[in-house]
C-alpha cells in the first residue's frame, strides 16, 4: 500500500520535482477508475469494491457481512445493487464486485430496493425479533437497516426456530444462535485477523451455526472483537450482557493504556459506571494504530476500575496497620518524609498520564530526587528512544521487520495483529530472534532460535547470511526492540539490539516496551540519568539500607521487577515508602503512606504510545472516593514543600509539556485531539555502549527464560472478574524430550536451583520451548520464578532437582 499518506514523506527533492513538473501534462493516475454512481461521475480506486467506493462517496449501501478490514465474502447478499458494465443493468453484490472503467452503478433503483428488501425479509424469517430483550437493540445494524432498507412487513407466520440460549464460545463471548445471520464476520475475524481459527460454521443449510470444537473454547486474546463486529445481537460479551441499553450509554473517545500500543478506543458508561470499551477505527487508510481492534485484556480490564477494592482515601501506617487518614495530614506527613530524607528514589509513572509523569518529574527536579526510573528493571534503557523511531504503519509497510524482543502476542497484542497482517496480507518479511516459539513465529520469514543470552556475534553472523542480507538490503528495515527474557540482564538485551543496529545502521526502531505510558514517562523526565540511578540501582541502594524514602508511583516492584527478592529487600530496607496507586498491591501493603490515585477513565490527560504518538485520555466517570490524579498529587505536594509547579488544571500541565519539552512542542491540546494524535519523538542520542558479557557455559543443565503472558498477576487482571481466571499459573515449562529426561509426570513439582536460590514449581511439557532451556511465565500465581533470578548476572542457569 504505497499510497498511504503516512509513508508519503515529502522531502525537498519531491518539492523541486513538483515545481518543474508544472508545465508538463500530469500523468493520469494509474489507480483511478472513473465510474458512474447513482448518475454521478466519481473516481474510484483500481481494485476496490463498489461498496468501498460508494462509502467514500457517502452513498450508503446496506450490508452485513462486508467489513473494510477483512476480505469480502458475499455471505449475506444484502448489498445488492444494479451494475451495468455495458451489457445492461444486473443485480450484483457490491462487496464482491471490483470497480471497472465506465461501470454504472445504481444503488436505489426499484430493482435494487426490491432485492435489498427481499434479503432482509429472508434474514428476518429465522431471526427471533427479540429486540426488546436483546443487548444489541438500539445499536443493531439489523434493526437499523430493516428500518431503512427493509420491506416493513413479513409474510412469515410460522413458528420461529429455537436454540438453547446462550452458549459460551469462550470465557467472555456468548452466542445466541437463533439471532445469528451467518455473516461470517466473527469466523472470518478469527481466521484472517487474529489467526486463531477456533470458531467455524458447522453443519449446513438451515442448521448452519457458529461453533467451536467440542471442549475447545474460542480462547483467543482477541475474542472481544467478534462481539463488537457482530452485526446482530448473536454475540455478547459477558461483562456487558444485560448491563445497559445502548440509548442509556454515554461515550467518549480515549486511548487504552493497558499496554503501550495505545489503541484508540471509546469508553462507554451508564449512570457513572464504566460498562464497556470498544475499539475505534478512524477509517480504511488513515488509521495509524489499531484499526478498530483491541485485545481482551484492554477491553475487559475496566472491571478492575469498578472493583470494590479501589483505594479511595489516603492511608497511613500505624500500629494497627494501614489506616485511613485525611489528605491534609497525608500531605503533611509526605512533606516531613521528603524533607527529612537525604536520599529519595522515585519508581514508576509508566501506568498513568503524560501529565502525571511530567508533574512528578518536575517535583523530583524541585526536591532533587536523583534516583528515578519509570521501568522496573524489566525494560530497556531509555536511550533506545533516541534512535530514529518508526511508526506502526511504517513497520507494517517495511520490507523487513527484525524482532529482538518480547513475544508481541503476549505483551503488545494489537501490534502483533498489525505485524501479522503485514506478513500475511502485505509484503513485510519478519526476521525473529527468539529463544522459544512465539505468537509471530508461524508468520515469520525466518525465526532464529538461540540460547538465552543472545550475543552480538551470533546476531552479526545471522544477519550476514547472504539470503538474509539480501532481504535486509531490499528496502526499509524496522527493528522492534525490547526485552525478551527477564532472566537475561538488560545489558545483554541491549547489546543484542545494538548488534542489529550496527549491522543495519539505517533501521528505525519501534520500542517494544510494555507499560501503557512508559514512553511518555521516559520522555518526560522519569528516565534514569544513568545505570547507577536506574530502578535496579535504586532498589539495591534501598536494600542496603541507604535509601531514606522510596516513592512508588503506580509501581509494584515486588510483582513487576524481575528480581523479586531484591524488590522485597528494597521495600523492607528503605526507611520509608510512599505509594501512589489505584488498587492495593503487595507493595502498597508495605508502604508507610498511600495516596489513592485516579484511574483510567477517571481523569483527562494525554498519553504517549510506543511510536511516540501523543493522544487523548478522556474522563468518563467520577473519580473513586477522594482519589486524585497523579499530577494533582505532585502539584499539591510541591506546594506544601514550598515549590510551585505552576499548574492549576490538567490543561496547564499539557500546555507546560508542549512549552518545555522540545519533542512535545507540537503536542498542543487541539493537535492531540486530531484523529491521529501527534508524534513526539526525541531524535538524536543513541544507545549507550554496553559491554556484552558472553554467557559462559556453567555446570547447570538448563538456561532460564522468563517472560510475560498477556494475563498475569497484574492487579488490573486479577481484579477484573472476567480476566481473573485466565492466567496460566506458575510453572517450569520444558521441551517434551527434556521433560521425559527428568522422568517426572506433567504437573509434578520439582525444585529449580540457580546460583542465587531455588524455587519449587510444577513441570509442564511444552513444545514451544527449546531443548536445554526452561521457560517460566513471569508474575503468575504460585511460587515466584524471579526468586532465582539475579539481576546482576548476564544469564540465569538452573538445574532441576526431583523432590522424590
Amino acid at each position: 500500500m504505497s499510497d498511504e499518506p503516512d509513508n508519503d514523506l515529502t522531502n525537498e527533492d519531491d518539492l523541486v520535482a513538483a515545481d518543474t513538473a508544472v508545465e508538463t501534462i500530469p500523468e493520469p493516475d494509474p489507480n483511478a477508475v472513473a465510474i458512474t454512481l447513482n448518475g454521478r461521475e466519481i473516481v474510484a480506486r483500481k481494485g476496490e469494491t463498489i461498496i468501498a467506493a460508494a462509502d467514500r462517496e457517502g452513498e450508503y449501501i446496506p450490508r452485513f457481512c462486508y467489513h473494510p478490514r477483512m476480505s469480502s465474502v458475499g455471505m449475506c447478499r444484502q448489498c445488492m445493487v444494479e451494475v451495468d458494465t455495458g451489457r445492461g443493468p444486473m443485480l450484483q453484490p457490491s462487496c464482491m464486485i471490483t470497480v471497472l472503467p465506465e461501470m454504472k452503478v445504481e444503488t436505489n433503483t426499484p430493482m435494487a430496493k426490491r432485492a435489498q428488501e427481499g434479503i432482509l425479509e429472508l434474514l428476518l424469517i429465522n431471526h427471533p425479533l427479540d429486540c426488546p430483550v436483546c443487548d444489541k437493540g438500539g445499536e443493531c445494524p439489523l434493526q437499523d437497516q430493516t428500518l431503512s432498507h427493509g420491506p416493513g412487513e413479513s409474510r412469515f407466520v410460522e413458528e420461529k426456530r429455537h436454540y438453547e440460549k446462550p452458549i459460551a464460545l469462550s470465557e467472555h463471548v456468548l452466542l445466541d444462535r437463533e439471532r445469528c445471520i451467518l455473516c461470517d464476520r466473527c469466523t472470518r475475524f478469527a481466521d484472517e485477523v487474529a489467526g486463531d481459527k477456533l470458531i467455524q460454521f458447522i453443519e449446513r443449510g438451515n442448521a448452519t451455526q457458529v461453533s467451536t470444537f467440542p471442549d475447545e473454547p474460542f480462547s483467543s486474546y482477541f475474542s472481544g472483537n467478534t462481539v463488537q463486529i457482530c452485526p446482530v445481537g448473536a454475540l455478547t460479551a459477558k461483562p456487558y450482557r444485560f448491563k445497559a441499553r445502548p440509548w442509556d450509554l454515554e461515550q467518549v473517545e480515549s486511548t487504552c493504556t493497558s499496554c503501550s500500543v495505545g489503541c484508540r478506543i471509546s469508553v462507554h458508561s451508564s449512570r457513572d459506571e464504566l460498562l464497556r470499551f470498544q475499539g475505534v477505527d478512524t477509517g480504511a487508510d488513515s488509521d495509524s494504530v489499531n484499526w478498530g481492534w483491541m485485545c481482551d485484556r484492554g477491553r475487559f480490564n475496566f472491571e478492575s476500575i469498578e472493583a470494590g477494592h479501589r483505594l479511595g482515601v489516603p492511608l497511613v501506617r500505624s500500629e494497627a496497620g494501614l489506616v485511613d487518614t485525611s489528605w491534609n495530614s497525608a500531605l503533611e506527613l509526605a512533606r516531613q518524609l521528603i524533607d527529612g530524607a537525604s536520599s529519595i528514589g522515585l519508581l514508576g509513572g509508566a501506568r498513568g498520564t503524560n501529565e502525571g509523569a511530567f508533574a512528578w518529574a518536575q517535583l523530583a527536579d524541585a526536591v532533587g530526587i536523583a534516583h528515578r526510573d519509570a521501568q522496573l528493571g524489566d525494560g530497556l534503557s531509555a536511550e533506545l528512544l533516541g534512535v530514529p523511531r518508526a511508526t506502526i504503519n511504517q513497520a507494517a509497510a517495511a520490507n523487513t521487520v527484525i524482532l529482538v524482543g518480547p513475544d508481541l502476542k503476549e505483551e503488545l497484542p494489537v501490534l502483533y495483529l498489525r505485524l501479522r497482517d503485514a506478513a500475511v496480507h502485505g509484503h513485510t518479511k519478519i526476521i525473529e530472534f527468539s529463544s522459544q516459539s512465539t505468537g509471530i513465529t508461524r508468520y515469520a520469514w525466518r525465526s532464529i532460535r538461540h540460547a538465552p543470552g543472545l550475543g552480538p556475534v551470533e546476531i552479526a553472523k545471522t544477519l550476514a547470511d547472504p539470503t538474509i542480507a539480501a532481504q535486509i538490503a531490499s528496502g526499509d528495515v524496522v527493528l522492534v526492540a525490547g526485552r525478551s527474557n527477564m532472566a537475561v540482564s538488560e545489558a545483554t538485551a541491549l547489546a543484542a539490539v545494538q548488534a542489529v543496529l550496527s549491522a543495519v545502521p539505517n533501521a528505525t526502531v519501534l520500542p517494544a516496551l510494555r507499560r501503557g505510558n512508559v514512553v511518555g514517562a521516559l520522555q518526560l523526565g522519569l528516565a534514569p540519568v544513568d545505570v547507577d540511578h536506574d530502578a535496579l540501582a535504586t532498589l539495591r541502594l534501598a536494600a542496603a539500607g541507604h535509601l531514606d524514602l522510596l516513592v512508588l508511583l503506580g509501581a509494584d516492584p515486588i510483582n513487576d521487577c524481575p528480581d523479586a527478592d531484591l524488590a522485597r529487600r528494597a521495600i523492607a530496607g528503605a526507611r520509608h515508602v510512599i505509594s501512589i496507586d489505584t488498587l492495593p498491591s503487595e507493595s502498597t501493603q508495605q508502604a508507610d503512606l498511600v495516596f489513592p490515585a485516579a484511574a483510567f477513565a477517571e481523569q483527562r490527560g494525554t498519553t504517549t504510545n510506543l511510536e511516540g504518538r501523543v493522544s487523548r485520555l478522556n474522563q468518563k466517570v467520577t473519580v473513586h472516593g477522594t482519589a486524585r490524579p497523579d499530577w494533582m498529587i505532585a502539584s499539591e505536594l510541591a506546594s506544601v514543600l514550598g515549590h510551585d509547579l505552576g499548574f492549576t488544571s490538567i490543561d496547564d500541565v499539557t500546555a507546560a509539556i508542549a512549552a518545555t519539552v522540545p519533542a512535545y512542542a507540537s503536542a498542543t491540546p487541539t493537535a492531540i485531539d486530531s484523529a491521529d494524535g501527534v508524534l513526539a519523538v526525541n531524535t538524536g542520542g543513541g544507545l549507550p555502549s554496553v559491554e556484552a558479557t558472553e554467557a559462559q557455559p556453567s555446570g547447570y543443565d538448563y538456561r532460564l527464560v522468563v517472560s510475560r503472558k498477556l494475563y498475569d498477576r497484574a492487579v488490573s487482571t486479577t481484579m477484573s472478574p472476567s480476566l481473573a481466571k485466565l492466567p496460566i499459573g506458575a510453572g517450569a515449562h520444558l521441551h517434551p524430550a527434556d521433560h521425559d529426561r527428568v522422568g517426572e509426570p506433567d504437573g509434578a513439582e520439582v525444585r529449580l536451583v540457580s546460583a542465587s536460590g531455588s524455587v519449587v514449581l510444577p513441570l509442564v511439557s511444552d513444545d514451544t520451548v527449546q531443548r536445554g532451556t526452561i521457560w517460566a511465565p513471569f508474575n503468575q500465581a504460585g511460587a515466584d520464578i524471579t526468586d532465582i533470578v539475579d539481576s546482576s548476572t548476564a544469564v540465569t542457569d538452573v538445574r532441576i532437582e526431583r523432590l522424590t
Binding site: 481459527k197 470458531i199 461453533s211 467451536t212 470444537f213
Partner: protein
C-alpha cells in the same frame, strides 16, 4: 482407539503428500477415519488437525457440512430409506414402518447389537426403481417388505460380506499413485503464470 491407527496414519501421509496444500487432504482423511471407526470421532478430528496442521474446529466445520459423515456411533450397516416423491408414491412410508417394526428401532437409531442403523433419506437418484434404499451406499431397488426382511437376515448371517463392506468404507479399491506418476500440482501461492486468458494479479496489487 479412535485416533487413526498406525497403518491409517501411513496411508494418511501418503494422501497428504498428493496435495500441494496439506489442508486439501482434509476430506479424504475424514473418510479414512470414518472407515476405521464407523463414524467421525472427536479424537480422530483432533488427530487429522495435527496431521494437516489446521485447528480441530476447521476439521469439524468442514466435516459437519457433509451428510455422509456421521458423528455418532453408527451400525456396521447403515440403511438409508428414500422417502422422496417417487418412492413416497410407491409406499416408502409403509416400507419404513415395516423396517422399524422388523428391526425394533425407530428411524434414526441403531439396533442394540450395533449392527444396523436405519435412517430416512432423500432421493437416491433411482426414482424409476422406487421404492429404493441403500445399504452402506449400495442400492437396493423396488424393495418390498419381504425383500427388506430378507436383506436383514442376509446381513445378520454375513451372507453379503463380499458385496457390502462395513459402514464407512466407500470403495474397496484404494488409489495408489507412485510418486513418479503424480501430477505434482503446484502450490496455489506459487502459481505465477496463468492460462493466457486470465491475468494473474499478485497479492498486494499492481
Amino acid at each position: 482407539m479412535s485416533r487413526l491407527n498406525d497403518s491409517n496414519v501411513a496411508l494418511a501421509r501418503e494422501i497428504i503428500a498428493r496435495y500441494p496444500k496439506q489442508k486439501s487432504a482434509l476430506i479424504p482423511l475424514v473418510h479414512l477415519s470414518q472407515q476405521q471407526n464407523g463414524y467421525v470421532t472427536e479424537e480422530a478430528m483432533r488427530h487429522i488437525a495435527e496431521l494437516i496442521n489446521v485447528t480441530p474446529a476447521e476439521v469439524y466445520g468442514t466435516a459437519s457440512f457433509y451428510e455422509m459423515f456421521r458423528f455418532e456411533p453408527t451400525g456396521k450397516y447403515l440403511i438409508n430409506m428414500c422417502g422422496t416423491l417417487s418412492c413416497a408414491l410407491l409406499g416408502a412410508k409403509q416400507l419404513l414402518h415395516h423396517a422399524e417394526h422388523t428391526l425394533g428401532i425407530k428411524a434414526g437409531s441403531t439396533t442394540p447389537d450395533g449392527l444396523i442403523t436405519l435412517q430416512h433419506a432423500e432421493c437416491q437418484a433411482a426414482c424409476t426403481e422406487a421404492p429404493t434404499l441403500q445399504v452402506n451406499y449400495r442400492h437396493r431397488f423396488r424393495v418390498t417388505p419381504a425383500d427388506f426382511d430378507q436383506l436383514v437376515d442376509d446381513l445378520r448371517a454375513g451372507k453379503l460380506d463380499n458385496e457390502i463392506p462395513p459402514h464407512g468404507t466407500l470403495g474397496r479399491n484404494r488409489q495408489q499413485i507412485p510418486a513418479d506418476r503424480a501430477v505434482g500440482a503446484q502450490h496455489p501461492d506459487d502459481v505465477t503464470s496463468g492460462p493466457a486468458w486470465i491475468e494473474i494479479v499478485p497479492a498486494g496489487g499492481e
